[in-house]
Structures are given as structure tokens and as C-alpha cells.
């Protein structure tokens, strides 16, 4: 099983964080790599409910992904499946991964742990094996040393 995990400590009560994860307005405002609002968001946050998001990136591209809610336990845990669609075509079954949000109350707020799991393909396995920062460091070193092509 391969996965990446990120942890954030947020100075807000769990119910507020959970709402940001489970409402269309909430999700649209933060989802995606770039600070651009999502174009279309479907968030039906109940078990079996659909997730769909279409979001732009600074490079002018638009990206779309779909998913299904697998666990919805406010305000502590949310699990969803995830797969990319490309030009309207949904990734094949092996492209399905899983995103887990776990909220743990801490002093003055909540600790949010996000795990992107079931990253089965080779590329993701490599990320897991190498560790993010380490792999990037290594690759950067290699690239910086590489002669211009």
C-alpha cells in the first residue's frame, strides 16, 4: 500500500474544518494547487455520494477529477475515492486512489491529517519509496549537474 501523508494544525474547531471539507463552497475555495476558485464542484458528502471537481491552474489548464464518498463521520473522518478524468475520459480502474481526512482535536484547534492512499502505480510507489523531500532533492541535484540539452 503506498500513500503520501500531510499534516496541518489549524486554529479552528473541528466542525468548521469539516464543513470546509464537505460543502461545495468550502471545497471550491481551497481545492487544487493554485489559488484559483474551482469552476464546478459537486460535493454530496454522504456515503455513496458523488464528488466531482473541475479546477484551473495558473498554466491555463483545467483539470477534472471524480470520486465517491466512502466514509463520512463528522467531524472526525472523511474518506473518498479519487480518479482523474482527462478530456472527459475517466482514468481506468487502476487509477483509483483514496483520500482520507482525519481530524483530531488539539489545544486551540484541530490537527488535520490528509492521506492520499492506494497510489498503486509505479510512479507513486517511487514517491513513497524515496520520500518526497528526499526524492526532490536528489532529482534536483541530478538536474542541476546535468549539462543543458
Amino acid at each position: 500500500m503506498t500513500s503520501i501523508t500531510l499534516v496541518r494544525r489549524i486554529a479552528a474547531r473541528p466542525s468548521i474544518v469539516f464543513e470546509a471539507l464537505t460543502t461545495p463552497e468550502g471545497v471550491a475555495a481551497w481545492w487544487g494547487p493554485d489559488d484559483l476558485p474551482a469552476i464546478a464542484t459537486v460535493v454530496d458528502a454522504r456515503v455513496g455520494g458523488a464528488f466531482r471537481i473541475r479546477f484551473p491552474t495558473y498554466d491555463g489548464e483545467e483539470h477534472e477529477a471524480v470520486g465517491e464518498y466512502l466514509e463520512v463521520a463528522p467531524p472526525t473522518r472523511l474518506v473518498m475515492s479519487w480518479r482523474w478524468t482527462h478530456n472527459g475520459v475517466t482514468a481506468e480502474a487502476e487509477g483509483i486512489s483514496r483520500i482520507e481526512f482525519d481530524l483530531r482535536p488539539i489545544e486551540g484547534g484541530v490537527e488535520l491529517t490528509v492521506t492520499h492512499a492506494d497510489l498503486r502505480n509505479e510512479a507513486s510507489a517511487a514517491i513513497h519509496a524515496l520520500g518526497w523531500p528526499d526524492s526532490l532533492f536528489r532529482l534536483r541535484r541530478l538536474l542541476e549537474a546535468a549539462p543543458p540539452t
Binding site: 470546509a20 493554485d34 532529482l139 549537474a145
Partner: protein
Amino acid sequence: MLNYQPRDLDQVFGALTDPTRREILARLEREEPLSIKTIAAPFTIKLPAVMKHLDVLSAAGLITRSKHGRTVDVRLSPERLREAAEWLRRYERFWSPALDRLTVQAEAKEAEAREAEARRAALGGSEAPDE
């Protein structure tokens, strides 16, 4: 492309999962070309095993081999690495800023909620804040 993952990149990452192969790449980064014998020298594994690693790296497009007389020169091939690094950067770029924004958004909502609670309290309401 964030959602674009060419099969040959899978091969690149597959090749990078092995510590011996990463070590070979790191050495080529410092000095190239290297002969196969020079590459094999520091390793305890036998030459055929090293050759197999070089085959994997070569199939992934990470190195090139060229024959010079009786020796084979091994060189780093940076293009595939550049693509792989770009893919990694894009994927890393996906979650981290998103969660930063989620944090800012939730903390602003929390501040609003507290203000509203304070106003209610000031108006003589006696209800305790949620949670």
C-alpha cells in the same frame, strides 16, 4: 501535466526505486562518462548484477551507453529525469498549497464564529460557544 502520467515516466520512477541505481546516477552526476568497470567497482554485487541495473536505467532512458574501443562509456541522460522531477513537483504542488488555503479559510471562519459568539454574549445571551 498534473493528471498526465506517461507510461515511460512509470518506468523512470520504477528505475529510481532501487538504491543501487540511484547511487549509480549520483556518481554519474559527479563524473561522466564512466566505464562499466568503474561504475561496478564500489559495489559488492557482481558485474552481471550491475549490468542488469544499467539495463534498467537504460530502458528507462536515464543513461546512455556508447562503445569506445573495448570500453563502454556510460553517461547520464537528463531529459527523462527532468520530466520526472517536473511530475513530482506538480504532484507535490497539488496538496500542500491547497491545505494551506484550507487552513486560512477555516481559521477565518473560526474568527467569524468567535466574533458572533462574543456579540451574542455581549447582548446578554448566556449560551456557551459550541464545542
